[in-house]
Amino acid sequence: MDEKKAAILGEIPRLRRYARSLLRDRDSADDLVQDCLERALVRLDNWQTGESPRRWLFTIMHHLFIDQMRKVNRRGEAAMLPLEASEAQAAPAEQVESIASREIIDALQAMSPDRRAALVMVAIEGFSYAEAATILGVPAGTLMSRIARGRDELRGLLDDAARRRAIRIVEK
């Protein structure tokens, strides 16, 4: 196997993690990664030597994600609603999350895709502002404001979730 393919293979775990933070549902996330890999292999020649495989692949995947979000928006927001906890119980055991993780994941899904992507890119994936701005195709200032607003929104959403949890406990 050539070096390029080996490098792509090595990035799959990171791509899956990013996709999972964007799309919550495991199979949808892997579908996104699959589309990304398919597109990447068709465009292997566009990959400049020296360019980080991670940045190249994340850029491809981000474009696919945003395209998809636009389509979803045209079809209506209902398609994007996250699973309620009760429905999530139908998921295989390995997907059962701790309460804290579920609240984080629900909160991420409640954010706008743009903010979600910007925050995840920097806070989880560890890209620099410059790298993240390039991958997302936005000016650094836009990226920064998405991160700042994203963190603020996430905090509020997590506080709401904790409050609801406290109320449920009191009601029992």
Binding site: I12, D25, V33, L41, Q68, I104, I105, A123, Y129
Partner: protein, 263 residues
């Protein structure tokens, strides 16, 4: 030394490693002098830790074979976009009930290009097989005992002359058939069973504008399909038989279907 004013914006920059090193000391001093900002910073650090923890496990998961196969240049197994397929919720439920092949159709998204016609055909055929071949009492609408009526009815509905192939030489007897939606049109499904209870199905539509043939396998242990598309009709034979046996059954079915169409 110029001392600049810090703001909440710097909390993000510091957190993300974007604050210039030579401003770090002054920033820390500012944070110490502003308890509210210090609390905000601590909260963001905690949220980030929770974010990372929520997804940390993903890196340790084995990479699904379907993703590796793409990089190795093997034909990928497509999942099916939601919304365009009537059977998706039912198929997903059926798969969950069967177990092991869950996730096969579970995509909730519309990624990439439309599937080619052949993918749509086999995906519909496999979904129908998964649902109905598992049914004991309600696998078919019209049983084989009423074969003449079955053939006439399905031929009229689907819009081509359908003769149920005789697959006794391959060990399969007709159980019966049913009418199904297939995209914009209709499909006939014929179900067969051998003496061990192993079932295969034929899925025939009158819709096709292209010529193609091939086999289509699911991940893991799902059924496989052998299919043909030709001008004016398409057919998929679906089952969980060994590939060679399925191909033999499919060849026999194909030649008989063709002969039936021409009769």
């Amino acid at each position: 030394m110029t001392r600049r004013d810090f703001s909440e914006r710097d909390i993000h920059m510091a957190l993300d490693g974007e604050l210039p090193v030579d401003e770090r000391v002054a920033y820390d001093a500012w944070l110490d002098a502003n308890p509210e900002m210090k609390a905000r910073s601590a909260r963001y650090v905690a949220d980030r830790a929770a974010l990372r923890a929520a997804f940390a496990g993903v890196l340790d998961e084995p990479v699904p074979a379907r993703l590796q196969k793409i990089v190795f240049g093997e034909a990928p197994v497509k999942t099916v976009p939601l919304g365009s397929r009537w059977w998706l919720p039912a198929a997903a439920a059926a798969m969950l009930a069967i177990g092991g092949v869950g996730g096969y159709f579970a995509g909730i998204d519309h990624l990439g290009l439309e599937d080619p016609a052949e993918d749509q055909l086999v995906e519909q055929a496999i979904a129908a097989h998964v649902i109905y071949a598992a049914e004991q009492r309600h696998a078919v609408e019209v049983p084989a005992s009423d074969k003449d009526h079955l053939q006439t009815w399905l031929s009229n509905r689907v819009g081509l002359k359908l003769v149920a192939p005789d697959l006794a030489a391959q060990g399969f007897q007709l159980v019966g058939g049913r009418l199904l939606p297939a995209g914009e049109s209709k499909a006939a499904m014929l179900l067969y069973e051998d003496d061990k209870g192993e079932r295969i199905s034929l899925f025939v539509t009158a819709e096709s504008a292209e010529k193609a043939k091939g086999t289509y396998g699911s991940e893991e242990n799902g059924p496989e399909a052998v299919y043909w598309l030709d001008k004016g009709y398409s057919c998929a034979v679906v089952g969980s038989l060994p590939r060679a046996q399925l191909t033999a059954v499919a060849k026999s079915a194909y030649s008989q279907l063709l002969a039936g169409l021409a009769s």
